[in-house]
């Protein structure tokens, strides 16, 4: 899985190749320059001689913006979330983060009971413009450092959920998230940060994208058809978009044309794009890295089974991790994380006339 995959984002003349880590860093820098109210909160994000966060995204920002705006916190995830929420209500636009998505479980009371509900409980009198960044995905770190948590937050009414799969979307969506007046949980995949950061992950993809010099935004709530196809619709996010693309290329060799949709954001969700595709192809396979039961893919299937049932030519399949914690041994982890091969086999079987 090391061959560079370039995203087919609209490429304006003036553009550079960037990794996800670089693109996210540039988004933070631009928004912090643009709006004094944007601050960052997190562990090890701005320490001199430090890491720039667990995955280098904030590296160098404290030099430009200082420690008044780049706040290195104690290991207090719940308070990081709650303080970001309170600061947002108070007029700032905090961008907080956890070093690994797994730690979001510590923040759920503050995010689900406070951030997501304060506007509602106030009768619409206040808003909570904050972003909470979280790296997800299995990277041979074991059960407590490899989970995917999108589904938990997609289920919390009042939170938006973003999950960009490439640097172009990453930058554009992070900027949109920061300008959004609502709490946005922003998921990033550890294997997509790219190798230019100090923290290249084993098995990481060399995902680079052309990122234009001039400013641009990618709105939250718009899915993207990253590959058109007539035979089957593959719906994926984050790392699984890339695996689905690789699978689609292999399937094409067998004459199976898969349409690949990158959901990009889970809340709001761009249902129309998925429905249109399924109505065209008649077949749906959702590909997610998360545990099968109760994953976000189930919601996609449920909406399609409600809205597109008459168009389906076969069962709806989900390709997901089994219902187990993330195992440590790479041999087991490779079995746990949906593989290109699994996608190819599943789709081939689904499309094959029975």
């Amino acid at each position: 899985m090391s061959s560079p995959t370039k995203t087919t984002s609209n490429q304006p003349s003036q553009s550079r190749e960037m990794t996800m880590a670089e693109a996210l860093r540039e988004a933070l820098r631009e928004e912090m320059r643009r709006d004094e109210r944007v601050i960052l909160l997190g562990e090890d994000i701005g320490i001199e001689g430090g890491f720039g966060g667990a995955f280098t995204v904030t590296l160098g920002l404290s030099e430009e913006f200082g420690h008044e705006r780049i706040l290195d916190t104690p290991i207090s995830e719940a308070a990081i979330a709650g303080i970001a929420t309170g600061a947002a209500v108070g007029g700032l636009r905090p961008v907080a983060d956890v070093q690994y998505g797994d730690f979001l479980f510590l923040t759920m009371d503050q995010l689900a009971n406070n951030a997501a509900k304060l506007r509602y409980m106030s009768g619409g009198k206040l808003s909570v413009p904050m972003v909470f960044r979280a790296p997800v995905g299995a990277t041979t770190r074991g059960s407590q450092h490899g989970q995917s948590l999108e589904a938990f937050f997609m289920h919390v009414a009042g939170l938006k959920v973003a999950c960009p799969s490439n640097p172009y979307d990453g930058k554009g969506m992070l900027k949109s998230a920061i300008r959004d007046d609502n709490p946005v949980i922003f998921f990033e995949h550890k294997l997509l940060y790219g190798s230019k950061g100090a923290r290249k992950e084993k098995g990481g993809l060399q995902v680079v994208a052309h990122v234009p010099e001039e400013e641009y935004l990618v709105p939250l709530g718009e899915a993207k058809v990253v590959r058109p196809g007539r035979d089957v619709t593959l719906v994926a996010n984050l790392l699984m978009v890339h695996k689905s693309m690789q699978a689609a290329n292999l399937l094409a060799e067998k004459g199976i044309e898969a349409e690949v949709i990158d959901v990009r954001s889970l809340v709001p969700f761009d249902w129309a794009t998925v429905f249109d595709s399924v109505r065209k192809t008649g077949r749906l396979v959702v590909v997610e890295e998360d545990n099968l039961t109760g994953g976000w893919g189930a919601e996609v299937v449920a909406r399609v089974a409600d809205q597109c049932i008459g168009y389906l030519d076969g069962p709806i399949r989900r390709i997901a991790a089994p219902d187990t914690p993330v195992p440590f041994a790479p041999i087991m982890e490779n079995f746990y994380v949906p593989s290109v091969d699994r996608i190819v086999v599943t789709v081939t079987d689904l499309v094959a006339p029975h």
């Binding site: 207090s76 719940a78 009768g123 619409g124 938006k160």
Partner: protein, 323 residues
Amino acid sequence: MKAQESEKKLKLAMYRRMLLCRMFEERVYYLFLEGRLPGTIHQSQGQEATAVGVCSALEPKDMVTSTHRPHSHAIARGVPIDSLMAELFAKLTGCCRGKGGSMHVGDVEAGMLPAIAIVGGAIPLAAGYALAFKRLKQPNIVACFFGEGATNIGSFHEAINMAAIWDLPVVFVCENNRYAASTAVEKVMKVKHVSERAAAYGIPGVTVDGNDVEVVYGAMMEAGARARSGKGPTLLELETYRFAGHSRSDPGHYRTAEEVEAWKQRDPIQVFQTRLLNEGILKPGDAEQIASEIEQQLEAAIAQAEQDPSPEPEDCLTDVFAN
């Protein structure tokens, strides 16, 4: 002269406000018994000096955070009585437009965030709001109310530590009424005073009589000045007692009649009223006069709330996301 005059005005204002808190709660209690209000309530009879003493020491643009027991905080902070009453009646004119209810009353305009009913849940919010004040260079502070029971939850520890290391302009106000629901404080912490916990964060911890509104006011002015001047938070423990049950349905059998009686002897409103009479600040008859004015105010609020419009069922769907 002038100073005396304003001090006198302050005392009278505090007295009236405490009485308003008390009479509001008593009136609301009966409304519940009559089945005219939905949901449940956590009342604060007996804790008027803490709410009024603290809020009287605040500036208009300061912010208050509160708990599942927020009525007196809201009244002391100046959330309009009509909008409070309407919220309890689940009306569209309520301070939360009927979406919050008793446990979430608040009004940012009046300087109070919607109350948070998760014990300890508002403590990080208070620190965060204080962080905003600091970053935006506003000269304001946050008064963060919580009970002694909340000092055993993680958010208390994490948020106070962060407020301490960043010298945030917030005062952590612990209303120690000796019980968390049915649980006596001695059962759940070995320290005698909640204020002893301040040392763990390197901030001042202070314990004062929470039933003496002037003492509370003075302690809050001091802690507030410290916070305003950039010296950081204080953990202010106010020793008090709730006369009411924990919630609507609680007869409070876990407390002895003697204990309750002993505290009633220290009724913050009685204590203060007697003092004001001795000081001649209250003249004979004044108290009754004030009470009947409040009575009318409350009846008007109830009458208003009852005829105010209810939300539509579909209003449930709004206010989830901004724009």
